[in-house]
């Protein structure tokens, strides 16, 4: 019981950490600099 709980905690932490690392990468890549344009861009054909 205790072992499975520890396993689950580690599993959820590593899953979450994956998302967190992607988020850090996105900030460093300046993905959040201009949040206005992409929503218009999707309406363009090309």
């Amino acid at each position: 019981m205790d072992e499975s709980l520890i396993l689950l905690i580690i599993l959820s932490l590593s899953l979450g950490a994956g998302c967190w690392l992607i988020f850090i990468w996105a900030v460093k890549k300046r993905q959040f600099d201009d949040t206005e344009k992409p929503k218009h861009r999707m309406l363009d054909d090309d």
């Binding site: 932490l13 979450g16 344009k37 218009h40 054909d45």
Partner: protein
């Protein structure tokens, strides 16, 4: 695939005021254009294969001006290049971007220039970042491709302050993202622990969950919460307790207590520590994301003055850098060029457009002996001018210096919440320490229960609601304002705007439209109105003078389109002449011009108003009629004045015009006090003097001449279409022509302050009830955490009420 309609330009969409240009496109349909500029922009777009642009229904592009020859100097532009490996990067600030379609078009047009490898334009700031191969293409080619579409490109070097602001925002974003991630993990453990608290839980599982909580809460408190901890340390050292201190004390005490509890088998409260930090970080980020512009108005002022001047040497002229111009040098200023320094005209007559310098949109006639300020545009014919001052001491540069000084002198405002926290924080900390000491010393409890009671005092007092009280209301107010066409530069503008008791208005361009309109037309006997209008429009439609445009517009509104006109001649400052279809010579212009042209009986009677202008028309030497033009008062000005005076605000009109004209306009809109003949320094002086008497000043203006006063006023306001330097210094920007929106902005500001006070009062009442309960030990930290969430929600909902404010309601 057809144009919008048969009476508007296919490119820019303006409704024709004159005979349109016809153009048959490749697929055989007829396209109509308002001017050659728009036609060539259309051809450019089509030749690039981007006809799809005209299918977009959200497009609104600027009318392309037919300027003599737009000229960009590679030597000047090269200084702005940033080398990036084989390629170069060039940042360009593009003026005139109004919609996503502009960006769509610009990105495609620029990327079609040979050698450009990628283009990205930010929607918010209008800044294009272009990477290109300097071997294949020169920067001026890129500039020309932008200018050819009617947009105004300007080299842009990001100011240091912008980079700092961006780094700050990125840092905050990283901390918030991290806090959200860890707090989410933490919640899973905490809810299990809460369930265990009420229903019972095995000691082993409880311990595992507590260790996991400790593991994820630590980075939230010490990394994400670092800005608060260091802020708290600074506020301790400067002995000015603020919000940061309360947050840091709350979070740190919860963390230390819980860490101790993990090892001694008590309940933990890591989630409270993490929640506080996450919520307040969110509030900070919301505050920071309110209205940001990348534009530096002072840079724009410097950019307005050309970098080069044409020095006359006997009969030849050569280009020299403007910094090398010495007083006394003879300069040649061609048509369409800007005066590089303050000069005196020596030879030639022309008209100059001083819109940038004085905000006056009507061109001024200048003859030898008249002085002209740097930054004015020569619009009629080439002149020789003698430099009066070196470039660095020109009028424009002096204004820039005044603005910089006024900006530096403006005191930075303390956050409202900080001021509330100033006395609140020490009181809370003192209380919790006292309670802890009391429980330990007098009641004789153990350290654990005593600490627990002290902790619940800090937690119940802790500022989730207080941290959200201001940002939530400010954000709601800003987003509501934005949908009503009011842009608030930052959150603290609201507090300052609500507190003004004195408002100064510039006249030309602010209270008035800054462009004349035809008021009435008197026709001499024997002519029909339609006949006069047709002739006037035919002659005037080739002229670029605002008076001429007003007459053409007036004719178009009466349903008259211009006809053909030959031998069109401009007499600078006096009028125009031309020969119409049936061979009659038509002259249009001032009373003096009529006398020169030998026209008798020009009737100037009935001119009651000094600010009015009369334009006379004569056909084959016979007087035909008179147009009376006036710079109309802007829509909503009267409403605004009555709104503000009803709220007991002292109103004054400041104008560079004569006292009589200023008083006349002031009277017209119901204002009592007018100051005429004001220079930029005097406007600044008046603002400063009023502030010294303890009053809070709102300054509304649009021109370069208002910029120093705008920069030093408590709150400044400009309308879109104002000069860049005025916009840069404006705390409030009104979009569109309706001045009454400023009244709405003021009402929103006052309502927001009411909501903020309600929020803070709620947080306060909640503390008054909660703290004694916590001190008696009746409120365990679990209930304190629940109460915290409920009160945050209440504060957010109260703030949302601001979203229902209506314009003029």
């Amino acid at each position: 695939m057809t144009s919008l309609s048969c009476n508007s330009c296919h490119h820019c969409g303006i409704v024709f005021r004159w005979e349109p240009l016809r153009h048959v496109s490749a697929d055989g349909t007829l396209k109509l254009f308002c001017c050659r500029g728009c036609q060539s922009a259309y051809q450019l777009i089509c030749s690039a294969g981007l006809e799809d642009f005209y299918l977009r229904d959200d497009r609104s592009v600027p009318t392309v001006k037919e300027t003599a020859a737009i000229h960009f100097n590679d030597d000047d532009l090269i200084r702005h290049l940033v080398p990036e490996g084989e390629l170069c990067r060039l940042d360009i600030l593009i003026g005139g971007i109004t919609c996503p379609s502009c960006i769509w078009l610009l990105e495609r047009m620029i990327s079609r220039v040979d050698g450009v490898s990628d283009v990205s334009i930010s929607y918010a700031g209008g800044i294009a970042s272009i990477r290109f191969d300097p071997v294949l293409c020169r920067p001026s080619e890129i500039f020309l491709s932008i200018a050819g579409l009617g947009f105004a490109p300007r080299p842009y070097s990001p100011a240091l302050s912008d980079q700092v602001a961006r780094r700050e925002r990125d840092d905050l974003l990283l901390r918030l993202g991290t806090a959200v991630f860890f707090t989410m993990q933490l919640m899973a453990y905490s809810y299990s622990l809460y369930a265990g608290y009420f229903q019972g839980m095995g000691g082993g599982i409880r311990n595992i969950l507590q260790y996991a909580s400790l593991f994820v809460a630590t980075p939230v408190v010490f990394y994400c919460g670092w800005p608060f901890i260091s802020g708290a340390w600074q506020s301790l050292r400067s002995r000015s307790p603020g919000m940061d201190l309360l947050i840091a004390v709350g979070a740190l005490s919860a963390w230390f207590y819980s860490t101790w509890a993990v090892f001694s088998g008590h309940e933990t409260y890591f989630d409270s520590a993490a929640m506080i930090i996450t919520f307040v970080l969110l509030g900070r980020l919301l505050e920071l994301s309110v209205g940001r512009t990348a534009m530096s108005g002072i840079e724009a002022l410097y950019a307005a003055v050309p970098q080069r001047a044409n020095l006359l040497n006997g009969t030849t002229s050569n280009e020299i850098p403007v910094d090398d111009v010495r007083p006394g040098d003879m300069l040649l200023v061609r048509q369409g060029e800007c005066f590089p320094v303050d000069c005196i005209i020596v030879e030639g007559e022309t008209e100059v457009d001083q819109a940038l310098v004085t905000g006056e949109s009507i061109p001024v006639f200048v003859a030898p002996g008249r002085d002209v300020r740097a930054g004015s545009v020569n619009i009629a014919s080439p002149v020789t001018a003698q430099a009066l001052r070196p470039a660095g001491q020109s009028y424009l540069m002096r204004v820039a210096a005044l603005v910089q000084m006024a900006q530096a002198a403006k005191p930075s405002l303390q956050r409202l919440a900080d001021r509330v926290a100033g006395w609140f924080v020490p009181a809370v900390i003192l209380l919790s320490v006292l309670v802890c000491a009391w429980r330990l010393g007098v009641t004789g409890e153990g350290i654990g229960p005593a600490m627990m009671v002290a902790l619940s005092v800090v937690l119940i007092a802790c500022p989730c609601a207080m941290g959200l009280a201001v940002p939530a209301a400010v954000l709601a107010a800003c987003s509501r304002s934005a949908t009503l066409g009011i842009i608030l530069r930052s959150g603290d503008v609201i507090e300052r705007l609500a507190g003004i008791d004195c408002a100064f208005f510039d006249k030309t361009g602010t209270i008035t439209m800054g462009r004349p309109q035809v008021l009435e037309l008197t026709i001499s006997q024997g002519f029909s109105e339609k006949f006069i209008l047709t002739l006037a429009a035919s002659v005037e439609h080739s002229a670029s003078h605002p008076l001429a445009r007003a007459i053409v517009e007036f004719s178009a509104r009466s349903g008259v389109l211009p006809a053909e006109c030959r031998d069109f001649t401009v007499f600078p400052g006096r009028g125009v002449s031309g020969i119409v279809a049936d061979g009659q010579r038509v002259v249009c212009g001032s009373a003096v011009f009529m006398a020169e042209q030998g026209v008798a009986d020009a009737d100037s009677g009935g001119m009651t108003d000094l600010s009015d202008t009369a334009v006379f028309i004569a056909i084959s030497g016979k007087y035909g009629g008179r147009f009376l033009l006036r710079d109309q008062v802007r829509h909503g000005a009267g409403t605004l004045i009555s709104l503000l005076s009803a709220r007991d605000i002292d109103l004054r009109l400041l104008s560079g015009d004569t006292q009589q004209v200023a008083e006349k306009v002031a009277h017209q809109i119901g204002m009592n006090i007018a100051h005429g003949g004001m220079t930029p320094d005097q406007k600044l002086q008046l603002v400063r003097e009023t502030q010294l008497s303890g009053r809070k000043v709102l300054m509304v203006g649009d021109g370069v001449n208002d910029a120093p006063a705008l920069a030093s006023a408590n709150v400044s306001c400009s309308l879109t279409g104002s000069s860049d330097i005025a916009l840069e210094n404006a705390d409030v920007i009104i979009t569109g022509d309706d001045l009454a929106r400023l009244g709405t902005a003021h009402r929103i500001a006052r309502k927001t302050m009411v909501v903020i006070r309600q929020n803070l009062a709620w947080a306060f009442v909640y503390n008054i009830i909660g703290i004694p309960l916590a001190m008696c030990g009746m409120l365990t930290p679990i209930y304190a955490a629940v109460a915290m969430t409920v009160s945050s929600l209440l504060v957010s909902l109260n703030s949302l009420r601001l979203m229902r404010i209506k314009h003029n309601g």
